[in-house]
Symmetry: D2
Subunit: 149 residues, 4 copies
């Protein structure tokens, strides 16, 4: 683990969203339990898709299902902090998108945790992987990593 | 609060189900956070209904929605305890069922917490309250309180 | 249940706090699961106490433990809504405080759900109920119900 | 993602523990939400450590903090399934242990999801990484991967 990259700064992400913590997020060690960090990953991604009108949980015939998640933890976050969720697209395949996420506590500039979530697009009825719908590619285009990074 | 009834014993419940706790259930006070106690209420009720083939989340045209929940806390439970969830029907109206629940830690005979969950049956499309379907009345009949209680 | 009071409006509460929802809050019925509503109760109360410097989870010798929770559900809330948590003090005993809570979705003026959470103050080491510390009484004084209500 | 290894069978794990699911685990897609899969990772590891008397959340001067988690999802699990959590040690460094976890639904022999959790041992007061305590190394020795695998 000695060669793992350190925490990134906010500048490495292209889109942010502030989210609140909850009393029950803290575990017996009195900081947010490791699992809960991940709840900000899918929340940020799905909220972005819903607000951009490319995900309707009830009716979309093609949806992204989570194929992999990963999180590395650098510094604790504890309720009642605000979490600023940074997002960018790390990789886009023909049927999958890898969203990279950094969690920034209150005014911190370095990530307390960072990781990724891979969505694989499937036809809902059959469960078969399909190409990413064009409207989704267009909607997430602004999330691509800045050229300078 | 001085006149509130104390914890009941297992004999006051008609059906039991053992459930496991999770690391993240414990909060900063190092016992299960108050909210999580309630997660055993709907889990026990819905599991009973699903296993008795009277609830299909995908297709049932009439479902019970939660109208009220209540929990009183007597004694702490902490991960990794087993929770024995006791259930009984407290009241059955024309369109609602009040399930009364007691949570028993490991081998305890007195409830650590007890409360209730009220399901109101609604037609799923319209959201309108309807009479409890007969098949559900039959399925939950064994949960009615023992005559002796 | 026919005589239960209906949802209150925002004017019935004395303090508000906006909180975010999460993808996993929605259950198989595609709205926030009943248990999660309660997570906004203790979060709002404890955040208020922490921000007013009368609760330190690590060091406070006297803390409020949850003795009872209750929630009645009127209207569904679904991710990604914002929840405006309204608070007021409903009753203050010698060692307990009953916080009354209403959850308001986005710009709604009527509560989607309302209920209460009772804190009983205990000496942390012994677990014995004690009088509410003066500094806490002072801190929560602004939460008392408006005279006009 | 084409070259990622497929799901393992139960034989690849050295220790198992059965855990129950909850109503609220299912999300709007009507299967367990991706985040909740991870809650079985730390629960299985910490329960093992607590039951083997090498973790006391209140008093242990040296504890394992989560440095990284990862999960790959192969097949959905839905409430009310039982989850059989398979564990093994994947790697043991001087101050870290990588637990590899597979989640097996009901009687399935192939994992629905698999991943890992890395604990780094730290001195609790200073937060500094320390060597894994001997008593912990001994306690987890039975979890090492079978030679044949």
């Amino acid at each position: 683990m000695s060669d793992r990259p350190g925490p990134e700064s906010r500048g490495a992400y292209t889109h942010f969203r502030a989210m609140t913590t909850r009393w029950g997020d803290n575990d017996a060690y009195r900081h947010m339990t490791n699992v809960t960090y991940l709840s900000f990953f899918d929340s940020a991604v799905c909220q972005y898709l819903i607000e951009n009108h490319v995900l309707d949980v009830e009716t979309s015939p093609v949806v992204g299902l989570v194929a992999e998640t990963n999180c590395r933890y650098f510094k604790e976050i504890a309720f009642p902090s605000i979490i600023n969720v940074g997002m960018r697209i790390g990789h886009r395949g023909s049927s999958s998108i890898r969203y990279e996420i950094g969690l920034f506590r209150d005014d911190d500039d370095l990530a307390c945790a960072q990781g990724f979530l891979v969505h694989v697009y499937v036809e809902r009825k059959s469960g078969r992987p399909v190409s990413i719908p064009d409207e989704i590619s267009r909607a997430v285009a602004p999330l691509h990593r800045h050229p300078a990074n």
